[in-house]
Symmetry: C2
Subunit: 362 residues, 2 copies
């Protein structure tokens, strides 16, 4: 097991990364709690993880409850948020209780936002079960979606700990591996050329990823993320670099309808687009074509963007938390490992997007 | 005009208190903003204050928008919260925009919670227009209600400033004066014996309160509040003292149905009850009878509590943010100015409440 320490402005917490940690979550709790509410989704419950975590936590707390939400992005919305608040009240949770987010990014973001706002904020821990959540479980960003845009309602609320059981990843469906792997690639692109090269060289399919390579990449990814959020927790500066690929990515997700494409698949397309814009605006020298072919080989559904309305995507990109004074801002790369937040004119963005959809994506 | 400085963990902000400040809100903004959204209620709008503030702010910002919610506690709920989020998105607000809460405690709490969660938190200022809001506008506690309890969904999010136009108080309906005045009394009870004595001596009706006495009491009240929240922003200790009278008060509000009794009227009843419990549990020496008669003289509707179910009130008191491990906790007084958080057994509470409703309240 490996441990990383993350300093947030609220408190310092540990990220524990290793196999089979779900059987010993109680060992890593920073405080004692009388009442614990585990939030998970149907899929994670069906895999048996919920019962395993309950069994373990019952050693720690007198009252261990659970609440299962439907799997998928559709649960990251206001009415599920309200159901969870109601459930927490009815179960008598108070400011000394703990909420556990057991699942992927959706469960983590939703649960974290409930913890951030229940009685004005109580403790929660993240127990990620996906590759994607190696990214979302660290850093305290929590949110739900608005029908007009992703993650628009949320808070900064650091977890009290992240307990990452790498064994759970093995049960991931291929499409979820693909989704999560996009954020791993992102961490390479924005911060670690070696890591990126390693991945491009050794990962030719997502059906069977070498466990050692994946684990190292996840550990490095979390380290990169932790390093950035420690410097800029509230996203006033460099934290926005983590948004690489997300400007178009979020627009694609919202435009296609949440759930019809995974977050990471949309981000992968967004990254390819950001690389193209980086080439034309910042003279990035990078083999976009090789990268595109690698994404295709890993079966990222690049072509799906052809079915979307270009103008609608632009409108979606205008509703982005990075924007200021109505100007669209994207994270671009000067080089691999050198991201920069860049304000881009709407007309140029439109023409870039047309080129991207009509010429780059075949 | 008088100014008080408040140090929050997020930033330091000023409270400006004086006549006619609504005509010069722009003078007191801590930053420049391109876009401003003013949130107010129908009643404040009808008094003309909204237009006055808009006129002034248009000197400051290019785009000044407003959103009016229905007046009253019913607006402090999730669906109005959602409407405001939608409106802010549609108007293109971003992380550099400002939200202004123009109104009483309901508008302040609701708007503050929108600001706390819109894009994970943007700037807002409080422009209180009621006596009650002298209390709620300072300290960064923001929240909406859940049908099972008051202020259960919320955050700590400090305003960037509080601009308190004392002239707006003159237009308050009597019942609102009564509501707000209860929090003024509370500040005297928990922190300032002289202030309380002054009020009991000089305020015999709320229809015409001596302006100098009221203004001094509001200034002192804000000072008391600021002093407490600076020491314990997140309510881990002494901030809970500000909840004096609120344990039963909140239960009465929820049980009677939000809007059927004002917050302060319910708190006044709650304070009288807390004084009784303080006498029997902490041997408080205080003329409860004189205090009760004073409340009656000021027309606080003490008798209304007789229409409520005692058992239901106890159930409501169990859903309180101060509680821990299912134990009900109330703020009591050892003496005027000496509050203490006290865990009270449910059976004793039940018997105290029976005595209170059947014997103390005539």
């Amino acid at each position: 097991m490996r441990t990383l320490e993350v300093n947030s402005s609220q408190w310092t917490y540990n990220v524990y990364i290793g196999p089979d940690l779900r059987f010993e979550v109680s060992k890593y709790l920073p405080n004692s709690y009388d009442k614990i509410l585990i939030v998970t989704d149907r899929h994670v419950e069906q895999l048996g993880y919920l019962n395993e975590v309950i069994s373990d936590l019952q050693k720690h707390a007198k009252q261990v409850y659970s609440f299962t939400v439907p799997a998928g992005e559709e649960s990251k919305k206001l009415d599920v948020f309200e159901q969870l608040q109601t459930d927490a009240i009815k179960k008598g949770l108070d400011r000394k209780s703990l909420i556990v987010a057991l699942g992927g990014g959706v469960v983590g973001d939703l649960t974290g936002f409930v913890a951030a706002t229940f009685m004005r904020g109580i403790d929660y821990i993240q127990v990620p079960t996906t590759i994607l959540a190696h990214d979302s479980s660290v850093g305290g960003k929590v949110a739900i979606n608005h029908s007009l845009g992703k993650n628009l309602i949320g808070a900064f609320h650091a977890p009290k700990g992240v307990i990452y059981d790498l064994s759970t990843i093995k049960s991931l469906p291929l499409v979820e591996k693909r989704s999560g792997f996009a954020e791993v690639i992102k961490h390479g692109l924005i911060a670690d050329k070696n890591m990126l090269n390693q991945l491009m060289e050794h990962v030719q399919t997502l059906e069977t990823i070498n466990q050692k390579i994946l684990e190292d990449a996840l550990y490095n990814g979390i380290k990169i993320k932790a390093h950035i959020v420690e410097q800029d927790e509230k996203e006033k500066g460099i934290r926005s670099h983590l948004n690489f690929g997300h400007t178009l990515g979020h627009a694609i997700e919202a435009e296609a309808g949440y759930g019809s494409i995974t977050h990471g698949e949309a981000v992968a397309i967004g990254m390819l687009f950001a690389l193209q814009v980086s080439e034309s605006h910042l003279s990035l020298s990078f083999s976009n074509n090789r990268f595109k072919n690698w994404l295709k080989q890993l079966a990222y559904p690049l072509h799906m963007v052809k079915d979307l309305q270009i103008e609608s995507l632009i409108e979606r990109m205008k509703v982005d938390k990075k924007n200021q004074s109505g100007q669209i801002r994207m994270v671009l790369l000067k080089d691999v490992g050198m991201p920069e937040l860049y304000t881009i004119n709407e007309n140029r963005l439109l023409s870039e997007l047309k080129t991207f959809i009509n010429e780059v994506i075949e």
